[in-house]
Symmetry: C2
Subunit: 342 residues, 2 copies
Amino acid sequence: MTQRKHSVSAFFRSLALLALLAVGAPAQAQTDPLPSWSDGAAKKAIVEFVQATTTQGSPKFVPTAERIATFDQDGTLWVEHPMYSQVMYCLERVPAVVKAKPELANVEPFKTVMSGNREAIAKLPMQDLEKLLAATLSGMSVDTFKAEVGKWLDTARDPRWKRPYTELTYLPMQEVLKYLRDNGYKTYIVTGGGQDFVRVYAEKTYGIPPEQVVGSAGGTKYGYDKSGKPFLTKEPKLLLNDNNAGKPEGIHLMIGRRPYAAFGNSPGDQQMLEYTGAGDGARLMMLVLHDDAKREYAYGPATGLPATKVGAFTQQLYDEAKKKGWTVISMKNDWKKIFAFE
Amino acid sequence: MTQRKHSVSAFFRSLALLALLAVGAPAQAQTDPLPSWSDGAAKKAIVEFVQATTTQGSPKFVPTAERIATFDQDGTLWVEHPMYSQVMYCLERVPAVVKAKPELANVEPFKTVMSGNREAIAKLPMQDLEKLLAATLSGMSVDTFKAEVGKWLDTARDPRWKRPYTELTYLPMQEVLKYLRDNGYKTYIVTGGGQDFVRVYAEKTYGIPPEQVVGSAGGTKYGYDKSGKPFLTKEPKLLLNDNNAGKPEGIHLMIGRRPYAAFGNSPGDQQMLEYTGAGDGARLMMLVLHDDAKREYAYGPATGLPATKVGAFTQQLYDEAKKKGWTVISMKNDWKKIFAFE
């Protein structure tokens, strides 16, 4: 019996060894994890960071449980020009809101939006925009909201590429997300956009589950329908404005750990990068610079063009990056390919 | 070449098959995942739920990404009598607060707490308790808070067992956490207690990382120290009161998915269990009943004793559980062992 046990156990030991070899084999033939990136400082910074923090015995090794990487969304993971997709959603929802409440047709800002006059819409003051956000993003159950956003995403098209917004993600950034995850990092979106809005598509679009999406978040109210079934209603009350200082505050609230890597593209991301960089050990802070007018857009410093309303990567942010040693990603020079569909 | 490729690929295929067999082998010899549970309705409900939701081809199969289980903490995962550990922390922090601000020594409620008169302390009105919470849980950096709670936990002892609070977790519930995780569930704490407080020990005590602790949460404020290094200060502003309706609201805010399983022990957990139960497919709702005066405590229904201030498992909740088909866990009958140290 003992003899037989030994040989069985020896058999399984050999098997385990062989299995290890089998797993090891593809690793030797490992292909470039970032094929859409040109060789350069940006790609090098990412690869060196991953190697330093995930190689056993490295002085900057980070235990798997602590491997957190945060990504801004609009302008960092996908196109934000000419307007945030969520703002497009709000504007396109207005007819349905007015249909449900016809008395709004002659009330501002609904009247202007219904007129279709783009110039006038672009000039709406912030408080009018807030009214639109409140009317289109709250006052319904979280399930209804999710279904409506899902339906909109299926049909809405970006005005330039005539494609669903969810196809306008940057292939090089998708590679970074995957590369980090393959190396034990939990990838989070930390967006100024609406948390519930981004959660609708983040899993399918980026492989990022709802619980790893941190965004500007409103309150909800728990209640019951006529049959006694409980549901949550979206309230117009803002709990977290996930921009600027709100990003590290939101990270503390929702994650409770300081990230080791953070990616952004605008002054709204500056505090997240500062907060990340203030930690010990290896930290990776990167900013996407939109300097490719031909393949995407060019705005902000190093482009000769002024920062625009959205994604205003300013000269001040650029200077800050240089001073703090953050790595600026040039879309034009660092990315061989911008979209998967190219 | 082709021939050789084929034989190599055939070799790896056989290897994969053998490896599967090897992985399958220990499964046959699988031991009881819940050894501290007596056979009965409660244990059966847990095992059947896990089998129904994780067996491929089961009509109630749940994809891994959606497997979320939420646990109340005080009274569900560990002892809450005679007082929540966090309240003990606040009371024990008062001398340090008064030392830093001597003018508080003659101001209520600090004066009463400093007197050490337990009866008077127990009678402090809610607004006084809130003053204590604000003074001991906010106004410092999140790092200082974490360090202070950690230091306190190392030395504080439960008055009955004379052991660190972190040893007073229920072994059967630790087994449930592990069993669910081994079956692809993400386990969350959803506590009325302070989120930052529980996060200090949840990873070490339960294997639950900070990002999977949802609790009552205050705001933080981002700022810079003299050297320009950024840090977060805990503010007295309450963002989420994670009790009652606040539990499903907090789950939506922090997780964004409805749980498949939820465990609680008091009316503060009722809405979380309702919300969980309102989902489709298999759902598991369980309530821990404290009916073991000898090994732990007995309070609430089925004990003949009135519900106490803490963890008031009421007759109303008990009736609700019966009506909705939630499973009540009797500590006395369902748990062979309560603590690991027994």
